[in-house]
Symmetry: C2
Subunit: 428 residues, 2 copies
C-alpha cells in the first residue's frame, strides 16, 4: 500500500501535503480549521505557479499564486477534467463576485483543502460547503486554469455583455473554419473555461463540480471533457506518452523550465498586450475524434509513414531516438511531423497539453475515442491557426481523424496573492 | 520521478513486471521475444487468479490463470473500461475461434505483453498485432473478465443461437423491471461483456480496444463505459473510496481474501450448477446516474440521514468508525445502509466493484455523472434482485439517483492453463 495514492491510501496527516480530510476537520477536529487553512494559504504564496519542481510527486501541491496561472508550464498531470461554461447572469457585479468566489475556492482546492470550512456547527446544519467526494484525498498536483472566450466580451450580435467589449484582444479571434472540420456546437465554444488537471481524476472532477455548484444560477456547464491520460510532457527528456494511435506525438514540446521559449511562444508580452493579458496566454481546445478501427487495420509501415516517426521508440524517420533532431526530408511530404514542425511553419511553436479520451461508443459499434487537444501560445494567429491550416489541407493523418469540437480562450495572467482574483486585470 | 507510474515513468526493464515495450522488442530486440513471452506465461501459471497479494502494487501483474477469473476477488484496481459486445457472426465455430483468440490475447496483455509478437519482419510489414498505445506501460494489475449474456444463449424470439440454449442457467434471468428504472437500451444488455480493470486507464482502454480489433466482423461493441475511480474495496480494513455523492458506500464489502464468504455468496458451487458455470459467478452491471446538482443543494444532515452514515468518517449512524457494526435501528427506516444491509435481506450479500463515471454533460447544463455499479454474486435471485426490489421501492436515495443502464452476465470459471480458453466449459 505504501506507494499507492488512490482512495485506498492510508490518510497521512503528517506529510507536507495536507489531505482534505485533515483540514476540513469533519467530526470533531474542525476547530483547528481556521488556523490550518491560513497556514496553507501562506505556504501557497511562497512559490510561483510556473515552478515545476513538483514533477510527478502526486502528493505535493502546485502553488496557486504566481505571475502565470498554473496548469500551463506545470509538469503535465496524468488526468484532466475540462469544462466550458455559459454565463447565464447578465449582471457584471454578479459575474465579478462569482470570479472572486471561484478564485478563493480554487486556491483552497489546489492546496488540498475542501472548498468551505467554517465552524463545526455550520457543517452539521448548513448545506455542505464542499461536495465531499475528494475528502481524504491529497491535492494530487491539482491545477485550475481559467480562460475567457470571445462570447464573454460580445454576444453573437456584437453587443457588449459585461462592459469589457472594448478589451477583447485582437488575437482572440473567431477561429476560421478548417477543411475537414465537423464541429458540434454542443461541444464547442463557451464564455468561460476551467481546465482542471490532477494525478487523481476524482480530484479533477471534484474541482470542476464544486465550481459549477458555486456558480449555480450564474453559470451553467456548456460542455465538459474527461481526459483519462496525458499525451504530452512539459518535462525535458521525459518520454512522451503515447496517444490513442499508439504514437508519441508532440515530442518536441516546449519545456516548462524553458523560460526563454515560454516568453517567446507562450506568454503574452506587455509589449504585445493588451495590458490586462500580459503574462497570460491563449488556449486552443479541439476535440479530435480518431477513427481507431480504421487505423487499427492499417499496416505499421503506413502508420509510421503517416506520422514520419517510428512507432516503437518514437524516433523521427531515419533517426534513432525520440528526441533526435528530425530530418524532415527523410519523411513523406504529407507526414504529420514534417508538416507540424516549426521549420515548416515559420518557427511557430505551441505548448501542447492534450489528453486521450474514450467516451463510450458512437452507436455504430465504434469507440468514441481520440485526442482532446489543448495548446497554449502567445498568439493563435502565429501558432495554432497557420499550423492547422497546413495540416488540415495536406496532413496524411486526416484520413484517420476528424475535429469535432473547438474553442478558443484568452488565459489571464496568474493570481498574484490572496487578495487578487481571476479576471481582476480585465474587470478593474 | 521515482514513484511515478504514468507514461512518463522511466522504462524499467530490470523489474519483475516486464514492460510491454521490453517484451515486444520493437526496433531490434525482438528476437528475444519468444523466450521472454514463454517465461511470462509460465510465471502466470504459478498463482490462482483469486490471489490478492498484489494489492495496490501498480507494477505487478495479476495472474490470469486459476480456478476463478481474476477481476472479481482481485483487489480492486483504480480504473475501469467495460464493454458489452453483440456477436455479429451466426457461426458457432467462428465464435469459438474468437473466444480462443481472445483468451490468448488476454493472457498476454494481463501479463504486461503486447497482443501479438512474432518476428521483427512481421512487425515491419504486416498490420500491427497490437494497437500499440500501451507500449512501454506496465501491466498495471490489468485483469480481463469475460461474461455471457442471456442473448448469447437464445435470441429475443427464443431461438438457439450457438447450440447452447439448453445450457442457459436458470439464474441467468431476464432482470425484472424495478420501480424508477429509466433504462436506455443502447446502454443495456449484450451477448458478451469484458470488464477491464487496471491502475492505468490507458492499459484498460488498450485491452478492450485490442479485443474489439481482434473481434472485427464477429463481434461489435454494443456499449462501453469508462470508470475513472473505484468506489469499492475488496481489501480488508482498507478505507472505502468515496462515491460521487461524497460518501463511502458498500463499506461491508466481501473481502477478496474471505474464501468462506466468496464460496457462499460469490462463486457458483458445483452443487448449484450448472456444471459448466461451477467456479464462476453472475455479474450485474447498472449505470446509475446521480442528480448531483440536486444532491449538492441538500443539507449535510439530510445527506447523512439518506445514507444512514456520517459523511466524514463513513461510520454508520450512532457509531464511531467506518467498519463498526451498524445499529440499523438508529437509522431512518428508508436509510440506504439500513435497506441494503444483509439483515434486511435475509442475509444476502454481494461483492461490489463499482466505479464512478463522468461522461460530459447531458445537454441541460448538468454533469452526466454517477456510479457504474458492478456486483458479483452466486445467484442474482438471492443477491441483487431482492436487494434492489427493496431499494427501488423505499430507498431515500431514489430522489437523487436513477438507473439508466442494466445488464446481467454469467461469468464462467477461470482459465486453468495455457490450453484452456474462455467458454470452454460452455462450448465443449
Amino acid at each position: 500500500m505504501a506507494t499507492h495514492t488512490g482512495p485506498d491510501a492510508p490518510i497521512d496527516e503528517s506529510g507536507t501535503a495536507p489531505s482534505r480530510r485533515a483540514l476540513i476537520g469533519w467530526g470533531g477536529a474542525g476547530l483547528a480549521l481556521g488556523a490550518a487553512a491560513a497556514g496553507g494559504a501562506a505556504a501557497a504564496l511562497g512559490g510561483g505557479a510556473d515552478d515545476t519542481r513538483t514533477v510527478a510527486d502526486s502528493g505535493a501541491a502546485v502553488p496557486f499564486h504566481g505571475a502565470h496561472q498554473s496548469g500551463i508550464a506545470t509538469a503535465v498531470q496524468d488526468r484532466l477534467h475540462f469544462a466550458a461554461f455559459d454565463v447565464t447572469t447578465g449582471d457584471r457585479a454578479e459575474l465579478i463576485a462569482l470570479l472572486k468566489e471561484w478564485t478563493k475556492a480554487a486556491a483552497r482546492m489546489t492546496q488540498g483543502h475542501a472548498v468551505g470550512g467554517g465552524a463545526v456547527s455550520d457543517l452539521a446544519e448548513a448545506p455542505p460547503d464542499d461536495t465531499g467526494e475528494a475528502l481524504g484525498l491529497k491535492s494530487s498536483r491539482l491545477t485550475l486554469t481559467i480562460g475567457f472566450g470571445p462570447t464573454l466580451f460580445t454576444d453573437r450580435k456584437g453587443k457588449d455583455r459585461f462592459g469589457v467589449a472594448g478589451r477583447r484582444p485582437e488575437a482572440l479571434i473567431d477561429l476560421p473554419a478548417f477543411p475537414g472540420d465537423n464541429l458540434d456546437p454542443a461541444r464547442s465554444d463557451g464564455d468561460l473555461c476551467v481546465q482542471a488537471c490532477a494525478d487523481d481524476p476524482q480530484v479533477a472532477v471534484h474541482a470542476i463540480r464544486n465550481l459549477a455548484r458555486i456558480g449555480m444560477g450564474k453559470v451553467a456547464i456548456r460542455w465538459s471533457q474527461l481526459g483519462f491520460g496525458k499525451t504530452s510532457s512539459t518535462t525535458p527528456d521525459a518520454q512522451t506518452p503515447r496517444n490513442m494511435m499508439g504514437f508519441k506525438d508532440g515530442t518536441r514540446n516546449i519545456a516548462g523550465t524553458d523560460t526563454a521559449a515560454l516568453d517567446k511562444h507562450v506568454w503574452v508580452s506587455e509589449r504585445a498586450g493588451p495590458a490586462w493579458l500580459a503574462g497570460g496566454s491563449y488556449l486552443v481546445a479541439r476535440r479530435i475524434r480518431m477513427h481507431i478501427e480504421t487505423w487499427d487495420r492499417t499496416s505499421l509501415k503506413e502508420q509510421e509513414d503517416v506520422f514520419g516517426r517510428d512507432k516503437g521508440e518514437g524516433a523521427p524517420q531515419g533517426r534513432q531516438r525520440e528526441h533526435d533532431e528530425p530530418n524532415l526530408r527523410a519523411m513523406l511530404p504529407d507526414a504529420h511531423v514534417r508538416l507540424a514542425h516549426p521549420d515548416s511553419n515559420g518557427g511557430a511553436r505551441i505548448l501542447r497539453r492534450g489528453y486521450s479520451f474514450t467516451d463510450g461508443t458512437d452507436g455504430l459499434g465504434r469507440l468514441d475515442a481520440g485526442l482532446f487537444f489543448l495548446a497554449y501560445q502567445h498568439d493563435v494567429r502565429d501558432g495554432f491557426v497557420p499550423v492547422q491550416r497546413r495540416l488540415a489541407r495536406t496532413d496524411a493523418l486526416n484520413e484517420y481523424i476528424q475535429h469535432v469540437g473547438s474553442a478558443l480562450f484568452a488565459i489571464p495572467p496568474g493570481v498574484r496573492d490572496a487578495d487578487d482574483w481571476w479576471g481582476r486585470t480585465l474587470f478593474s
